[in-house]
């Protein structure tokens, strides 16, 4: 379409011959990559600093381009990348990770975010090392408030996150919690097609709401608040509260009933009953519940959540650690049970949860979740194995034997 002019620095279209698309800014001109953070199905994340005095540090998410044969081709950007790019360009809230810019260059997409030193997964993990010691109650409270605050903002703007889990909740070194990774997020105001038809499976299984496990087709912001309930429980017990095993899709690509995950929920929450959840009987997988009850949970079916909660918050106090979570008290249980309510219509909304007495009783909620802490959490691991943001993630171009020095790698490249 556009005049083609290989490797020319002409601005687009000045010449007469055809040119290809060229980004006006180049990611390596604007940022200096200082290390590799992580990779996922979408691509890779790098840590970087600005080259032109842009303050602070950055996390650059690079989307993996598709590859056809030896040559990387433009194959059309995935719908989820489009959603993430579009949503992040609109969102602006102190508890949602901030997008700085997006650079489309060399058939790759680079989303530049503010850098966050920690995430909840890492913080939770730290408290299991070398022995289990609880996250201080003031920290738990602050994290929960900020997390709900970010989620409330998303929901008020008709955005479902759909993948809330500890690894996606970022925490900056100044103790600000930021909801991150909107790769599965989408708008839920008047979708042209039902939300179900798009992507059949969402949310990492341990944080998946019961209505999704039971095959609900139209889901709501309540799936995010269930996940927040699971995260709250995990902040208290330092392990996932419902740690089920995922049933894999069969060859016909039908979505299987997640029996094991539902079983884990039932073990703590009891069996859902239609008296407390009127639409339960309309759930596509409703009949599966009978088979569950026959298994291990034949007793009254009452919830064990209260027992789980008190034994969790008191368990650490037996040790020598002074700051047990016992101070979170009864209001903590009420908030948890409100978030882990079976009926999505009765489940606490993010907005209602923010008004919960849990946050207004006891110590004032701090906007810095690390306030009053003596020790600092370990910094995010940044590896030097792959510092070349321009080629590093290309499938089949795995590089080895490069000097373990970013500047040297850079120079080789240029």
């Amino acid at each position: 379409m556009f005049p083609r002019r290989p490797h020319s620095s002409h601005p687009i279209g000045r010449g007469t011959g055809p040119v290809g698309y060229q980004s006006k800014v180049r990611v390596i001109d604007r940022y200096k990559v200082i290390g590799f953070i992580s990779s996922g199905t979408y691509g890779r994340v790098y840590k970087a600093v600005g080259r032109h005095g842009q303050p602070g540090e950055y996390a650059i998410k690079k989307f993996k381009p598709d590859k056809e044969g030896e040559q990387i081709q433009y194959t059309g950007i995935s719908q989820s990348a489009i959603r993430e790019m579009a949503l992040c360009s609109e969102l602006s809230h102190m508890n949602v990770i901030r997008l700085c810019e997006i650079i489309l260059e060399d058939k790759c997409i680079f989303m530049v975010f503010e850098y966050a030193e920690h995430d909840l997964l890492q913080i939770i993990h730290h408290h299991t090392q070398p022995t289990r010691h609880p996250i201080p109650p003031a920290t738990v409270k602050s994290i929960m408030f900020q997390l709900l605050n970010g989620c409330q903002y998303l929901h008020a703007n008709w955005v479902l996150h759909r993948d809330l889990k500890p690894a996606n909740i970022m925490v900056t070194s100044s103790g600000e919690v930021k909801v991150g990774d909107l790769g599965l997020a989408r708008l839920f105001n008047k979708p042209l097609h039902s939300l179900f038809s798009g992507d059949k499976v969402v949310v990492t299984i341990w944080y998946r709401a019961p209505e999704l496990l039971l095959g609900s087709r139209h889901y709501t912001p309540a799936i995010d608040t269930w996940a927040i309930g699971c995260i709250f429980a995990e902040l208290l017990s330092l392990r996932p509260i419902f740690k089920g095993e995922e049933a894999k899709m069969d060859s016909k690509k039908t979505v299987p009933f997640q029996r094991n995950q539902m079983q884990k929920i039932v073990e703590i929450m009891g069996l859902p009953r239609k008296e407390q959840w009127p639409h339960l009987v309309n759930m596509p997988e409703y009949n599966q519940l009978q088979t569950l009850s026959a298994n291990s949970h034949s007793k009254s079916g009452a919830s064990n959540l209260e027992k789980w909660y008190y034994s969790t918050i008191n368990s650490h106090s037996a040790t020598s650690v002074p700051s047990s979570n016992a101070s979170l008290g009864q209001e903590g249980y009420k908030l948890l049970s409100g978030l882990l309510e079976y009926d999505p219509e009765k489940r606490l909304t993010a907005e209602a949860a923010l008004q919960h007495p849990f946050f207004s009783t006891g110590d004032k909620v701090s906007a810095n979740c690390f306030e009053g802490m003596k020790a600092e959490y370990p910094h995010r691991r940044v590896s030097q194995d792959d510092n070349d943001i321009r080629t590093g993630s290309l499938p089949g171009t795995k590089r080895s034997g490069l000097p373990d020095d970013s500047r040297q790698v850079k120079r080789l490249k240029e």
Binding site: F2, Y21, Y74
Partner: protein, 307 residues
Amino acid sequence: MAANYWESSQRRHWLFTREQLDDLRKKLEDQGQDLVQGYPLPQLRHLSIYFNQQIARLGKRLGVRQQAMATAQLYIRRFYSKVEIRQTNPYLVIATAVYLACKMEECPHHIRLVVSEGRNSWPDFFSGDTSKLGECEFFMISEMSSQMIVHHPYRTLTSLQGIFSLTQEESALAWSIINDHYMTDLPLLYAPHTVAIMAILLALVLRPNQTGVQSVGPAVGSIASAAQAALSSVHSSKPGSSDKQNAGPRTKVQRLANWLAESNVDIEDLVDCTQEIISFYEFQEQYNEKLTREQINRFVKARGLDK
């Protein structure tokens, strides 16, 4: 943000004054003076009508809903406020906008299907190479700074039709006026609710039992003055004056005027907005599809942009 027009990228980055828009376009022309002189094009309104026809053609083949086509039209208008049209293959830009809009509006089509339907629609001007469309997608998103969530007037219309007791015909007419406004600069100049109210006003003044918007050409002058009269009554009308249920169009216009008097809607904007669409309908009369097509096809071929 996504639900809130006031904080949206649309209001913050894609709302211009007439002068700003003229400057942007002047700058593009100045940068490519040789091209502009070498390949004359019809006025922008007529190009927009042509693009709209082509989007509708492609959209029909793909079964795309109106809202996604509206989004595509807005993408094209934004894109061409940043890029000189003669630098591009408009057919590729149209197909790319439709492809991208469908993803954004949650009714995606595979890139290969869009390309093959593009090729069916414009066999002499459209490459079957999907990577061309993929490349153009990068170009388009980049020029739009990834700001792809758009607010349409349809939602305001839907929520206001009850308040003004619009009949089905009146709503349908207002809806089609909104469809038409994508062929003008209005979506870059006014908030979507302003456009929706303009459409309701015009629908009430035009009356659906008349022959419809397409053929109002000769009567445009009288419609304009009727709309003006309705708007000027906004200033004089007293809030709370009595409304009858099942009121005819005239009392509905009065009710709208009363409602406007109490709202924060800028009446000046509404007047300008009304004038713009009316003058569009006038220019529509002079549209020459053949000439427009030939002039576009000429530069596409001469510059090898279809390759």
